[in-house]
Symmetry: C2
Subunit: 463 residues, 2 copies
């Protein structure tokens, strides 16, 4: 019925538990140009461990600041938790290849087989673990689409930690099921902005009709952590520590490929804050940095929130309230808000400092794609590969399909690996719009971008 290529490689490559990584890989150790340090916005001096310790757990601060240690041991308790849903499969997309009639060989690392529905759990359990180890009562965080909040709720339920989630108000209202999942895991979920924090009250006073933003929810979560005894703030992307934990994705991918003697030509990941992309590519870029191998690495972002392709490489605030440290990154400005029409996630104004530096130094390309074409790729993928992908993940699918089609045209049998970060079960409103032909794209004009750029702080050396 289906004409499939010789299946000498399994449909799904699963590592054994023994083959799972015992160390996270810190790509900064191999970078010549290190990511710039976080700055204290008041002093414009690098944040010290002590200053960061008021916001983050001590062990995570160490990981955040250490740019020389290449490997961090994964504590046994975290490895045991990983075994609940890892190793994740590296899947050979035989059916997609057949449908595209491409000589390319396509693989995807699927991170969606867990209740959070994405890769976010890899860092959530690590951050919750260190909080527990430090004897804290709980952690606070923000969530937009809800994957990170769900992941953190699961990790906290497992460890018996309190979990306070500030959920962007429009998501809180549009995604009651995501909220209910977090509640089932015992988390306390507050729509943001809220009256429970000073920064929330200030934003509400100024913009009473606001439906919130990720940057604003971050400000509230940080305030809630720093004004309570026994709490720290945790973040699901952007930070160095998060990319460190997410390296488990790339390390597993590398082991699985090596097990079957496969050498990838192109590695593709979607990029919002950069945690999945950074985690997937770190070990491969590490080889490039050490001169051991060469790959084409492609970061895919939405055309409606194009921080890499149209942003500026500057120090900027990570949150709307401007209470967090400043990071040097590709940014659209903390005041930038993507079109309300944008449904596909990846709406953060900035990008991980590591990913930004690697991009700046030419280790990866960036491409922006429009959401109608992203959902078309998602539908095509779902129908032949069976998995209903998250809109975020579908950005990577779009470019993987585009590259495979190019191979059909050139006859090259390239090996493409992409990250399938998660499932779209909680994104059916967006799928419904697409099914109804009612999705549309909205790309910011240069004038829109200028408004965002105007919110980037200006000081000597930051232009």
């Amino acid at each position: 019925m289906k004409e499939l290529k010789d299946r000498n490689i399994p449909y799904k490559i699963y590592l054994t538990e023994d083959e799972m990584p015992k160390y996270w890989y810190n790509v900064r150790a191999d970078m010549t140009n290190k990511p710039a340090p976080l700055l204290n916005p008041a002093t414009l001096q690098p944040m010290t461990a002590e200053e960061l310790g008021g916001v983050f757990c001590a062990e995570l601060v160490k990981q955040e600041l250490d740019d020389t240690t290449a490997y961090f041991e994964i504590p046994e308790d975290i490895r045991n938790f990983y075994k609940m849903y890892r190793p994740s499969p590296l899947v050979r997309a035989y059916c997609l290849e057949e449908q595209l009639q491409t000589p390319a060989k396509i693989y995807y690392k699927f991170e969606g087989n867990n209740t959070s529905g994405s890769h976010k759990l890899n860092s959530a359990i690590a951050q919750a673990y260190y909080a527990k180890q430090q004897g804290l009562k709980g952690v606070t965080t923000e969530t937009g689409a809800g994957q990170w909040g769900t992941a953190l709720s699961m990790a906290c339920a497992y460890l018996g930690l309190d979990c306070k989630v500030f959920m962007v108000k429009c998501s809180y209202e549009q995604k009651p099921f995501r909220r209910e999942v977090m509640r089932t895991y015992g988390a306390d979920v507050t729509p943001s902005p809220s009256m429970t924090t000073e920064v929330g009250r200030k934003i509400l006073a100024e913009f009473p009709e606001t439906t919130g933003s990720l940057g604003c929810a971050i400000s509230e979560a940080v305030e809630a952590a720093t004004t309570r005894d026994g709490y720290r703030y945790v973040l699901g992307s952007v930070l160095n520590q998060v990319l460190l934990h997410q390296s488990v994705i790339g390390l597993e991918t590398q082991t699985a490929l090596e097990k079957y003697g496969i050498k990838p030509d192109i590695i593709i990941g979607c990029a919002g804050g950069g945690s999945n992309l950074g985690g997937l590519i770190s070990p491969f870029v590490g080889q490039m940095l050490r001169g051991e191998a060469n790959y084409r690495v492609i970061a895919v972002e939405p055309a409606s929130c194009p921080s890499l392709t149209r942003g500026k490489f500057r120090y900027d605030f990570c949150d709307t309230g401007m209470i967090c440290p400043m990071a040097k990154m590709y940014t659209l400005g903390s005041g930038f808000i993507p079109s309300a029409n944008h449904a596909g996630g990846l709406r953060y104004h900035g990008m991980s400092g590591i990913v930004s530096q690697l991009y700046h130094d030419g280790y990866l390309e960036a491409r922006s794609v429009e959401q109608t074409s992203v959902f078309a790729a998602a539908e095509q993928f779902a129908r032949c590969e069976g998995i209903l992908p998250a809109p975020e993940s579908s950005h990577a699918i779009r470019v993987a399909i585009d590259e495979a089609v190019k191979c059909r045209e050139t006859g090259e049998a390239k090996t493409i690996v992409f990250g399938l970060t998660g499932t779209g079960y909680f994104d059916m409103v967006a799928y419904g719009k697409y099914n109804d032909g009612d999705m549309g794209d909205q790309i910011p004009t240069d004038a829109d971008l200028e408004k965002g750029f105007a919110t980037i702080p200006s000081f000597p050396g930051n232009e």
Copy 2:
């Protein structure tokens, strides 16, 4: 942090692709008392292959009627499809065991790692495959909670078959996201009862306010298939053919257990129409029938729809419209409707003929559980094992926990295996009610049951 038992057994046992079953197992071949044949309601005679061929695909009719062939080869195309989401893991519930402080060893076969969210895909692809092989244009079916409809939509999208789904109206309205998933896979979804069929119009004329029932949707789907050229009807549970396909669950479980030398004492499955339970237990009950082994097998059903524990073993209609063949089974009567308060699935009035006969002959026990206690088990399981279970699957979790707690009391280190049929991502309305303490139970009174029993047909030999 967590005190875990020696982990000499992996957290998840995955078979290799080579170890996956190449044959389905037909438990009827080993049964001394065969399930009674389907009857033509007009003649009260056993349905012939020819009569059934008007409704079902030819190959499926053969499978339905064959009660002597023990093994049916799984066609290679179906085995390739299975590889997209199978083998499913057999998971050792280390964390649940630790939380219960039980000496019992608990395993669960997790069928939820696919977009349909349940085991239903195992039979959906088989039925769609035979329809395609027969050169049909498409298939029709009904769906309640939506898992079966989603599974069939996925299978049809993969094979390029048209798929018409009649979705029980209350589910159509309460579960717009399920509907949207089916649409994403290209299915045509109609709320039932509808004006598109004669039986639908008749039911609407009589009960204009009805929110539909599974039995009514079956009637519409059968009519839609039999009045269209190139269409057949397919059903997701109850039938012998479905249990045959679902035996892949039990066969994989058996291979995984044997690989590690594990002998189960108790095997537990939830039971609605019986497809998951029948598939899980078939190979084990086969051993019992052949005198090779002995197990305690427990079917778990909701107290609000107690076909095994409080039903009658009679010939009955499978649908409300009474246009389908009659089956001999444990039934509450085709007119029985569970309390509107019932949220947990498993609301079919009857039970698979195979499961019914095995129960009648003492090869399995049945237990009914109330939904508040089912959701309590679901929450407990989610928080320690990480997976948010479907309400249906949680019936089995409830009894697995109860049995493990008994082991704690007696000190016996029994080995418990249960079927975790799927995930609850589309059941958050029900979880929300539970989270709000607003769930409640409603067990039918004897008078309620009598009303249902009155709809069981009366003829000589059927009392």
